[in-house]
Symmetry: C2
Subunit: 704 residues, 2 copies
Amino acid sequence: MQWTKVLGLGLGAAALLGLGIILGHFAIPKKANSPAPSISAPQDLDLEILETVMGQLDAHRIRENLRELSREPHLASSPRDEDLVQLLLQRWKDPESGLDSAEAFTYEVLLSFPSQEQPNVVDIVGPTGDIIHSCHRTEENVTGEQGGPDVIQPYAAYAPSGNPQAVNAAKHGVAGVLVYTDPADINDGLSSPSETFPNSWYLPPSGVERGSYYKYFGDPLTPYLPAIPSSFRLDLANISGFPPIPTQPIGFQDARDLLCNLNGTSAPTTWQGALGCHYRLGPGFRPDGNFSADSQVNVSVYNRLELRNSSNVLGIIRGAVEPDRYVLYGNHRDSWVHGAVDPSSGTAVLLELSRVLGTLLKKGTWRPRRSIVFASWGAEEFGLIGSTEFTEEFFNKLQERTVAYINVDIAVFANATLRVQGTPPVQSVVFSATKEIRSPGPGDLSIYDNWIRYFNRSSPVYGLVPSLGSLGAGSDYAPFIHFLGISSMDIAYTYDRSKTSARIYPTYHTAFDTFDYVDKFLDPGFSSHQAVARTAGSIILRLSDSFFLPLKVSDYSETLRSFLQAAQQDLGALLEQHSISLGPLVTAVEKFEAEAAALGQRISMLQKGSPDPLQVRMLNDQLMLLERSFLNPRAFPEERYYSHVLWAARTGSVATFPGLSNACSRANDTASGSEAWAEVQRQLSIVVTALEGAAATLRPVADL
Amino acid sequence: MQWTKVLGLGLGAAALLGLGIILGHFAIPKKANSPAPSISAPQDLDLEILETVMGQLDAHRIRENLRELSREPHLASSPRDEDLVQLLLQRWKDPESGLDSAEAFTYEVLLSFPSQEQPNVVDIVGPTGDIIHSCHRTEENVTGEQGGPDVIQPYAAYAPSGNPQAVNAAKHGVAGVLVYTDPADINDGLSSPSETFPNSWYLPPSGVERGSYYKYFGDPLTPYLPAIPSSFRLDLANISGFPPIPTQPIGFQDARDLLCNLNGTSAPTTWQGALGCHYRLGPGFRPDGNFSADSQVNVSVYNRLELRNSSNVLGIIRGAVEPDRYVLYGNHRDSWVHGAVDPSSGTAVLLELSRVLGTLLKKGTWRPRRSIVFASWGAEEFGLIGSTEFTEEFFNKLQERTVAYINVDIAVFANATLRVQGTPPVQSVVFSATKEIRSPGPGDLSIYDNWIRYFNRSSPVYGLVPSLGSLGAGSDYAPFIHFLGISSMDIAYTYDRSKTSARIYPTYHTAFDTFDYVDKFLDPGFSSHQAVARTAGSIILRLSDSFFLPLKVSDYSETLRSFLQAAQQDLGALLEQHSISLGPLVTAVEKFEAEAAALGQRISMLQKGSPDPLQVRMLNDQLMLLERSFLNPRAFPEERYYSHVLWAARTGSVATFPGLSNACSRANDTASGSEAWAEVQRQLSIVVTALEGAAATLRPVADL
C-alpha cells in the first residue's frame, strides 16, 4: 500500500532530524563522566546519562540486529533457537558492551509439532474416497524464504491428531475444525497476489496463521512448578486446556474453495467476508459448485507432543545502591517461522538497549541505582512458557524485589503511534519518558503529543491524556502481573486505525513475516523501532536510577473509581434486588483514594528536603509493593495463575472488578440465595478485602 | 504438693537476689540518657537500655496485673472481656507509661455457648425415664469463685445440640460423646478432695475442662476473609469442622460413677486410669453396680451458635529508623473462666513489658530502631479467632514488614524451666537473651544453663544446646507461621517432668484456674513470670534494636538436614520401589546449606567494617523474608491456612517434610502409578521448589 511506503520513508527521514533535536533538547548542567557513585550517595536519575542513551540508540544497529535474528526460522527449541541463545550470551558477555553477567536457564517443557513424515492434510474427497481437491500444505514460496526445510508446516499447536471426515458436521457435533483468516479481517478486503506481499504489506492468498491452541499458559505438564527435569509432571491424560478435536489452519485461498462452494442457509451478515462469494453454512456442497454434493472434507492432523529443552537467557546490570531492586525488561526469542516482527523486532530493540547501557557500564561511566535484568524468554508462542516457568522457579525473589516488568514483544506493528498497555502506576513514568522523545514522522511532535492524537481519554485528574490499554495475557507480561502482582507494561508502535482495519499486521505468524517485510513495509528506516527503544530505554533508566520510584500509586484511584461507577450503574439495581450492598466497596475505594493521595503528599514533602536514603527506601517499598496487595491466590479457583483481583480475565459484560462482573453474569438468571449469588457476595468481599489491604499498605507505616 | 510450695517460696526469695546479680551482671560503658537517635545514625542494640529493662521488669507488678486480669471470668465477648479491652487501651494510652498509639479492632465472629435457660445435662435414667443419677452441671464452689453468675457451665464449644440416649452406643454408631480427664493423666493419680485444690495444685473431682471442638481455626463463617460486618459469610449448612454429634465434658467424679459401673469386656490396659476401678467398655451397666442394667445415659446438649463482637487491641511503639519493620508480640485476652494461668499470666507479663518500654519511651530515653507492636487477641479459646482475622485483614502489610512474632500465652505452666517453641532462625536470639538472664530458683544459673538441664539436644554445629520445640497450632502464633510465613516463637516456664506427668497444669480450662491458684501453687513470688518477662523483653529489644537482625537463617540447615535424613532412612527404600528419587531433594538441601553459610560469612565480613544502613537493610530483608519462601498456598489444598511446607501438620509417622510424610503414609499400600503416588511426587517437587527458591533468596542479590 502506498501510504505505508510514503509514511515509512517520511519517518525514516524525520528520524535523523528528530535525533538532532533530541540531542539539543535537554538543558542540563553537564558534568564529567563520573565512576559508579559511592553507595551512600543518594544517587538519582542523571539526565545527562539519559540524554546520552537516547542519542546512542541507533536505528541502523536495530536493523542489523533484526536482519541477523530473522535470517532463519527459529521455532522454540529448534537448533536456530539454540544458536540465538548463544548469540544473546555472547552479546551480553561482551567485554566492551556486555552486562555484569548473563546465563541461560533451561526447562524441559511439553511442546507440540506437526509430523514431518506425515504432514497434516485437508482434502476434498469424492464418495469413493478419491481426492478431488487438496488444500495447500505449505505457503507459496514468493520470496525464496517460504520454501526452506526449517519453515514449519502451518498447524494448530496442541490440537490433537485425528482424521475426521465430514462437511459441516455441526449437526452431528463438530468432528474437526478448520481455521482461516478472512481478507476482510486481515487485508482490508484485498486478496489478489498483486495486492499482497511482496507487492504490499498484505497477506498473500497462501498465508496461514500458526498458533497455540492451549487454553492456559506455562508448561502444560507442570502447572505452578518450574519445569526442571525433576519436577512432578501431570499424566498426559490429566492435562486440561488442549483442544478436544483435530484443528487445522488454512489460507484464505483454500478457505475460498471450501466456503464458496458450500450449500445450505446463509451465514449471518457479520460472518460474510471478502472471499468474493456469499457465505453459507452448509451442510454439504451446492450442486452447481466445484464439488459434487456427496463430496466430503477430510482433515488429517498428525501433531505430536514432545518434551523439549527450551531456554531463557538472563542478563543483569548490578545496581550500585539498591542491587536487590530489579527493573525487569524482557521479550521472547522464539518465533513460528522467521518471525521478523514477532518477536525479533522486540529482540532487536532489546539487543540495542543492552548494547548502549552495557557500553556505558563497561566504560565505568554509569551504573544504575537499582539492578536491571534483561530477559530473552523461550517458547512464548506455545503459551508464555519460558517466562511462566521463570516466575514459578523464582517466585519469592521476584515478588519481593521487582520494581516493574517491561515487555517489548512486537516492537512495531505499524508506524503511526506509540501504544502502551500497563497498570496505572506506570502511566506517569511512561508519560514523563514520552514527553521528552521526538516522535518519528513529519512535524516536531513528541511521542507523547503524537500518541495522544490516536489514543486518548479524558482523565478526571489530568484532563486529556493518552490512554493506556489494560494488560491481557497476550505476551510474557502475563505471569508477572497476574501471578506475581508486579506492575507491568507492554510497549509497541502501532496502526493508524483510519488507514487499516487489519486485526493485526497481515503476515502475523506466517512465513511472510520476514526481514524484507519489515524493512520495506512496516518500518523503513527503523525510526519506529528506534522510538520504541528510546521509550523503553528512558523508562528503564527512570525506574532504575530515580531516587524516588516513579510509580504513581494514586493513579490507581481513577481505575478503582471507574470500576466502582460501572458496578453502581450497571449492577447496582440487580445487586439490590438480591440485597447485596455496594456500600463496603464504596468505602474501600474512598479509603484507597485518601491513603494514596496522602502518600503522594508525604512524598512531595520529602522531595523538598534532603531525605535519608532509608526513608526513601521505605516509601519506595510501599510504592513497589502496592500491586502485590491486589493478589489473592484463592480468588479464582477455576483459573490458572490469575490471582490479581483487578486484572483477571473478565468474561462478564460490565467493565468492573472482574470477579464481581463474572460472578454477576453467572448469577444473573438464578434465584436469590443460590450458590451463584453467594459467589457474587464472596467476590465482593474479596475485592473489598484487597482494597482495604492495599489502603493499609499505603498508610504511614507506623500507623495501626 | 509440698515440693511446689517449697520450690515456689525458694524461687520467690531467690528472685530478689537474682535481680541484684543481674543488675551487676552487665559490664557496659554507661552513657547519659540520649533522646531518640537521628534517623541516619546506624542505631544498634543498646546494652544499657537492655540492662535497664531487665532491672525494671517487676515481679510484684506482674502479680498485681494478674490479680486484676483474673478478678472476674472474662469469656470472649463477655462484658468483662470488653472491660479488659478498655483496661488495655487505658494502659497503652497512659501519658507516662503508654505506647505511641493503641486501638481496638472489632470483628463479628461466630461463637458457641451453652444455653442459660436450658443447661446441658448428663443423666442416668431408668427404663421408665425416671432420673436415677445426674452428673454435676457446675463445678463445686470450693473457693467461693466457682459459683458466680459469670462462670460458664462446662461445655464443648461448637458441639451441636441434641438429645441422644444410650449406654455405649458404639455398636450402633456413637450417638453422643462424653469427655473427661482421668486423674492418671492430669493429677498424677490423685483424686480425693484432700489431695486436690485448694489443698494442692491438682484438679478437684468436680473440675471440668472446657474447650473448643472446632477442627480449624479462625472465624468459622469467614475462612480467608476478615470477619468485618460486610464480609461474605458461609451458610451455616456449609460450615465444615464442627463435631458431628452432641458432646459434653464432665468431671472425673461423674466419670467414675459412669465408668466404674460399666459392664462388658475390659478396656485396653492403656485406657485404664486412676478412678479406682477396672475400666470396661460396656455395653450396659453391670448388674451388681449402682444402676440397673436397663438404665440409659441421657446427654442433652443445648449449645447455641451466636454472632458476637470480639476485639483485638493493638498498640505500637514507632521505630526511629525502620518504622516499617515490625516486631510483633502478642497474647490472647479471653479466658474460659477466670483464666489466671490461661491466658492472664501471659497478659500480666505483656502489660509489664509494655509499661517498662512505654516508660522509657515517654521519658525520651529510648525509641527502638524498628517498630514494636503489642497485641491482645480476642476469642483465642474458640479457635485463634482474633489473631487469624487480624492476619486475614492485614495479610500483605504484615507479610512484607514483620520481622518476627513472639507469643506468650500461658507464661507459667510450672516453675522448673524455660520452654521455647519456634522456627530455627529465632534459636540464636533466644540463646543470646537467656544466657544473660539469671534463672529463678537456687544456684546462680542463667536461664539458658537451667533450661539445658531439662530440654537439650546434640547439635552437629553447636554441640549440646537447649532444644526448641516446633510450633503446632496451639496458640495465636499459628496464623503467623502457617498462613503468613513469619518466623515465630512461643515462650513459657514449665514443668520438671521428673516431678509430674500431668498432661498440662491440672486446673486448665476449669473454674479453679484462679489468682490464688497461681499465687499459692504455680509461681509464688512470681519469679518465673518475671523470668519469662525478661526473656521476652530481651528478645524484643534484640529484634527491634539490633542493626543486623539477629535471625540466623543457617540454623535452618540443621532442620532440613534432619528432615532429609529421616526421609532417606525411613522412606528411601519405599520411594525407590516406586522409582521416586530423593536426589533432587538432596541437591536442594545442599544448595540451601551452602547459600545460608555464604550469607552468614558476608554478614560477618560486613560487621567488621562500618556498613551502610542500606546495605544492612538489604541483608536484613533477606533474613526476614527467608521464612516466606517456604510458603506455598497450593501445597495442601485440603488444609485451611496451612501453607508452610516445613511446618504444616504432619500425620505421617516419619519426622520429615510434612507433605512428603503425609503423602507417603497415604500412598503406602497403593500400587505404583496410583494417584496417591503421584501426590507423593507432587509433594516432593513442592518441597524441592521451595528449598531452591529459599536458597535463591539467600544468594547475593545481584546474582542470576
